[in-house]
């Protein structure tokens, strides 16, 4: 139980910082919104069906703002060497990692929850699919993205090219997440049967399990200094 408590404490710390400063969420939201606006100019959605391009547009917005969220999450720890405090505290380092992932997932989820309705209005889409499955797909892929991203951010923020390096490493590694997310979302939106995209949900779940486990095992080596 103490392990879970440590995870929750780390996640709670990030949330408290955010609730007091309200910096990050506003920035992330505006950034995601901007991406939607850019796509609104790039494609004519009165001609193109939202189901064809919408999921891709949404996930580009989520992934771009997600990368910012993940990078920021470790940047604040490196500022004034706050991370030393974490390293000195008697908690497992993997608990620190999981807490960071939890906080990032929560931030990304808030952005997703607020951006989806905006996109629906902006692109005149009438939602008719199974909403629970859509939420499950969002959640599974957000967890996978945050899992790999948080591990990479812990490394990149202590290198010389921190801001540039994170997307460079994360985007190729997160290609399965992006593909699964886009495919599942578009199948759900199109109202196709579960059999058509069940394997994508399985893959997202497998990706989450594999990389959360790998990161928990490897995180000690990342935070050695």
């Amino acid at each position: 139980m103490t392990y879970l408590r440590a995870v929750l404490l780390v996640a709670g710390k990030d949330l408290r910082v955010e609730l007091r400063s309200r910096e990050q969420l506003v920035t992330l939201l505006f950034f995601a919104l901007l991406v939607l606006v850019v796509f609104n100019f790039a494609f004519d959605f009165t001609v193109i069906d939202f189901v064809t391009l919408g999921p891709g547009v949404l996930w580009v917005a989520f992934i771009f703002s997600g990368v910012l969220a993940i990078g920021r999450s470790f940047q604040i720890e490196r500022e004034q060497d706050r991370i030393q405090g974490i390293l000195l505290s008697p908690i497992d380092r993997s608990a620190f990692y999981l807490g960071k992932v939890a906080a990032t997932v929560l931030f990304m989820a808030v952005v997703e929850i607020l951006i989806v309705p905006v996109a629906v209005v902006m692109f005149n889409f009438r939602f008719s699919g199974r909403i629970l499955l859509a939420i499950l797909a969002l959640l599974l892929n957000t967890v996978g993205f945050a899992a790999v991203g948080t591990l990479f951010a812990a490394m990149t923020t202590s290198t010389r090219r921190s801001e540039l390096l994170l997307p460079l490493l994360l985007f190729p590694a997160a290609v399965p997440v992006a593909l699964a997310a886009v495919k599942t979302t578009s199948h759900v939106l199109a109202g196709r049967p579960f059999a058509a995209y069940g394997h994508w949900l399985q893959m997202s779940a497998a990706y989450d399990v594999i990389f959360l486990a790998a990161a928990v095992l490897l995180f000690d080596y990342v935070l050695e200094d």
């Binding site: 990149t156 290198t159 010389r160 390096l165 460079l168 190729p172 593909l179 893959m203 200094d225």
Partner: protein, 253 residues
């Protein structure tokens, strides 16, 4: 300066037995590769029959596919040496992991260059969203990231640890990337399957096997050379640091 070079020499002397074997292996590999590469060219261009439909350009297949094998070998060895490095913290394993990734990227670059040269006359396009092209490109990007991460690290120790973690995570990711891209393209018709099997002339199979063995030996040769280069770089760095430390003292004296 004398003392420091002596320190390096002492280090060298301790490792000299291991080094002797490596240098011997390097020489043997060099001779093998020097003989096999011209022989491969001879077989590929003069012995193997020309493929019926695709014509002469099909011969690029004997370099394209073995390069892919060597590239995957690089990815696999990188993960293996990375895990061993995190376990033992032996600098040589880190150099091996780095060399594997770097040479893997080199061979995947050859794959990505020879692919379009073949695709243009056969498929009529330089590039398509075909499964293997896309996933190989993603893989190449991932390991380019590995090399950039290595150059961006603050210290050799940090570079070694971070790259070891990325080497392991990357290798776990490779099969998932391949599956996901294949499913993603699943609805589209496959333009052509490159994999052999049906209708592959026995002479073609033999040539492919010969070229694959040659490329793998070539891979190993490059690996040994790259590791030796890495160790020399370490030595230079140690000597430079030492000289830097000594210089101010010499001025005050």
């Amino acid at each position: 300066m004398v003392v420091s070079s002596r320190a390096v020499m002492a280090k060298r002397a301790v490792e000299s037995t291991a080094n002797g074997t490596a240098v011997l292996a390097e020489r043997i590999l060099f001779i093998l590769v020097a003989v096999l590469v011209p022989y491969c060219l001879h077989v590929v261009f003069r012995i193997v029959p020309t493929e019926g439909k695709m014509g002469v350009v099909q011969r690029i297949f004997y370099f394209h596919v073995p390069s892919a094998f060597a590239g995957f070998l690089g990815v696999g060895l990188c993960a293996l040496f990375s895990a061993l490095y995190l376990w033992t913290r032996d600098r040589r394993l880190d150099l091996l992991a780095h060399a594997s990734a770097e040479i893997g990227v080199l061979f995947f670059t050859i794959v990505l260059l020879t692919g379009p040269i073949w695709a243009r006359p056969v498929w009529g396009v330089w590039w398509t969203g075909e499964v293997r092209l896309t996933s190989t490109l993603v893989l190449w990007l991932l390991y380019m990231g590995y090399l950039i991460l290595r150059r961006s690290a603050e210290s050799p120790d940090q570079a070694a640890r971070f790259c070891a973690v990325l080497g392991i995570v990357g290798a776990l990711d490779v099969p998932i990337i391949y599956y996901s891209v294949e499913w993603w393209r699943g609805l589209h018709p496959r333009v052509l399957k490159i994999s052999g099997g049906q209708g592959l002339d026995p002479a073609m199979g033999k040539a492919l096997a010969l070229c694959s063995v040659t490329f793998l030996l070539f891979f190993l040769l490059l690996l040994l050379l790259r590791v030796r280069l890495g160790r020399l770089q370490d030595d230079v760095e140690a000597l430079t640091l030492d000289a830097g430390r000594r210089a101010p003292r010499a001025e005050t004296a």
